[in-house]
């Protein structure tokens, strides 16, 4: 292998390594951000003591969790009890792979040919994200079942039924954007949003698909089990739902999987609706724009959690099946009709 290929391979490995670490750091930052924003909304400071203004709080949390005792209930299934959090976290990380986070770059002329800033851009990228997040259901279901406890089982069953139901609305909202973009590769969807109308409105799909964006965000919140759809881990009703019996490292993996799922959902939402890494000077600063847009969506997730009350489980299911999914299908039909009309 000649030196140019080796350098390219090394650059790609560096990108993957950086993205992986960025996700882990993002989940730590989100732990802090959630508690700080919750604190500000509730007119208090949030974590304040550890580090300047509480910025080192996530590290304290992680250290505490690592030093806790690893418990396993007596009747719990030996293999599945450990497999469940691993499955949750692995699918959360893998789902981020097709999301592009920057334009192609040559790293200031080091490489001969430009390298795409993204982990794996497959030509069915949108579907890969969908497939891997639908595998994430297993983590929660297995956690609920293998804990050998009735609270966990109910939490697990409810979570998986909820996630499966909202996958339908999620997929049909995606299908409408794919119709507009003409491709299922996330990088091509972002690139088809380049340019502006009348010089200053960017050609983002959120302007063409406002209803689709709202449907996608709602389905994304339900997919990641965040409030107001977080009945499976409802603190007031089910103890802690499917992760009641978990402790220490196995427990820590579940919230981490949840935060990384949030980041992935926001990443896919920005790529599909908000123009991904596009913005002024996007060839050099693409990653910055991407992170900024994701941060806006993540703050929205967090603010939403502490603003609205929780849905009851039957309200949640009826909303997903009777209102969100038909709305999503009608959105797809109208989009298809308009695409056909304007392209004929």
């Amino acid at each position: 292998m000649d030196s140019a290929t080796l350098l390219r391979f090394g650059a790609y490995g560096g990108i993957v390594f950086l993205a992986f670490n960025a996700l882990i750091i993002a989940s730590a930052v989100l732990v802090l951000a959630e508690r700080k924003i919750m604190g500000f909304m509730q007119q208090r400071y949030g974590p304040y003591l550890v580090g300047p203004h509480g910025t080192l709080q996530p590290f304290a949390d992680i250290l505490k969790l690592l030093f806790k005792e690893e418990l396993r209930p007596k009747g719990a299934d030996k293999w599945l009890f450990t497999l469940a959090p691993i499955l949750s976290v692995v699918t959360a990380f893998v789902a981020f792979a097709p999301v592009p986070f920057g334009a192609e770059t040559t790293f200031f002329g080091l490489l001969d040919e430009p390298l795409n800033l993204g982990i794996a851009d497959v030509n069915v990228g949108v579907l890969v994200v969908f497939a891997v997040t639908s595998m994430g259901v297993y983590g929660i279901v297995l956690a609920g079942w293998s804990s050998n406890s009735k609270y966990s089982l109910f939490g697990g069953l409810r979570a998986s039924a909820q996630m499966i139901s909202y996958e339908l609305a999620y997929a049909t909202a995606l299908a409408a954007v794919i119709l507009l973009a003409g491709s299922m590769s996330l990088r091509e969807v972002v690139e088809s949003q380049a340019g502006t109308w009348w010089g200053f409105i960017p050609r983002w799909y959120i302007f063409l698909q406002p209803v689709g964006f709202i449907i996608y965000m709602i389905a994304g919140i339900a997919e990641t089990n965040r409030a107001p759809f977080d009945f499976p881990e409802a603190e007031q009703e089910l103890v802690a739902g499917y992760n009641t019996e978990y402790s220490s490292v196995r427990f820590a993996l579940f919230p981490q999987a949840e935060y990384i799922n949030m980041v992935t959902m926001s990443g896919v939402a920005t790529s599909l609706y908000l123009g991904g890494w596009l913005g002024p000077f996007s060839n050099a600063l693409g990653v910055v724009w991407f992170i900024a847009k994701i941060s806006v969506l993540l703050v929205f997730y967090i603010v939403l959690r502490w603003t609205v009350p929780r849905y009851r489980y039957d309200q949640l299911m009826s909303f997903g099946w009777k209102y969100l999914f038909p709305a999503s299908v009608i959105n797809l039909l109208i989009t298809a009709a308009l695409v056909l009309y304007f392209n004929a």
């Binding site: 069915v124 279901v141 069953l157």
Partner: protein, 178 residues
């Protein structure tokens, strides 16, 4: 070279996990092993330049059908029910009838393998005759599906509706007769 390694890895994983599926006493483990088998099969599809089939395999089979199986196993508590005499023994330790069946299955595999490797027509590399782009383009797939097979597509949607209604009716609790 990496394609060969990928093929042998995924093919071996599929066969091994499928063999383990039929040998497990606990149906929960069978379901999880079958999910792993479907994942490996999706890897094989990608090696065959069929990315859409691979992703659909994960979404439909591993992500939906297996969840259905998992629900049923969990709700029927199948893993912890009192096993009949038959199931208390490990499947490969059953009486001679079962061993005979396993031997027949092995003979069938050997025979099919011998027949397939002898047929010279199939010794050609799978990607040899035709270009990958004829098969891997999703746009082409959609076009053929909705133009030539439109009727089958619509019929399948009615089939799913019928199956859904049937499943709900069959699994419903009987009303207590007055």
């Amino acid at each position: 070279m990496p394609e060969t390694i990928a093929f042998y890895f995924f093919a071996g994983l599929t066969v091994v996990t499928s063999a383990l599926v039929i040998g497990q006493r606990n149906p929960m483990y069978s379901v999880m092993l079958l999910i792993a088998s479907f994942g490996a099969l999706a890897g094989l599809y990608i090696g065959l330049d069929a990315p859409f089939a691979a992703v659909t395999q994960i979404i439909v089979y591993a992500g939906a059908i297996m969840v259905l199986f998992l629900f049923v196993v969990m709700l029927l508590n199948a893993a912890q029910e009192d096993a009949a005499q038959y199931d208390r023994l490990h499947p490969l330790r059953h009486p001679a009838v079962t061993r005979f069946g396993a031997l027949m299955a092995l003979l069938l595999i050997v025979q099919l393998g011998w027949a397939l490797t002898r047929a010279t027509d199939f010794a050609a590399p799978v990607g040899g005759r035709a270009d990958a782009s004829a098969v891997s383009s999703v746009r082409e797939l959609g076009r053929v599906l909705f133009e030539r097979h439109a009727f089958a597509f619509e019929a399948t949607s009615i089939l799913i509706l019928v199956a859904m209604v049937g499943a709900v009716v069959l699994a419903r609790k009987e009303e207590p007769s007055q």
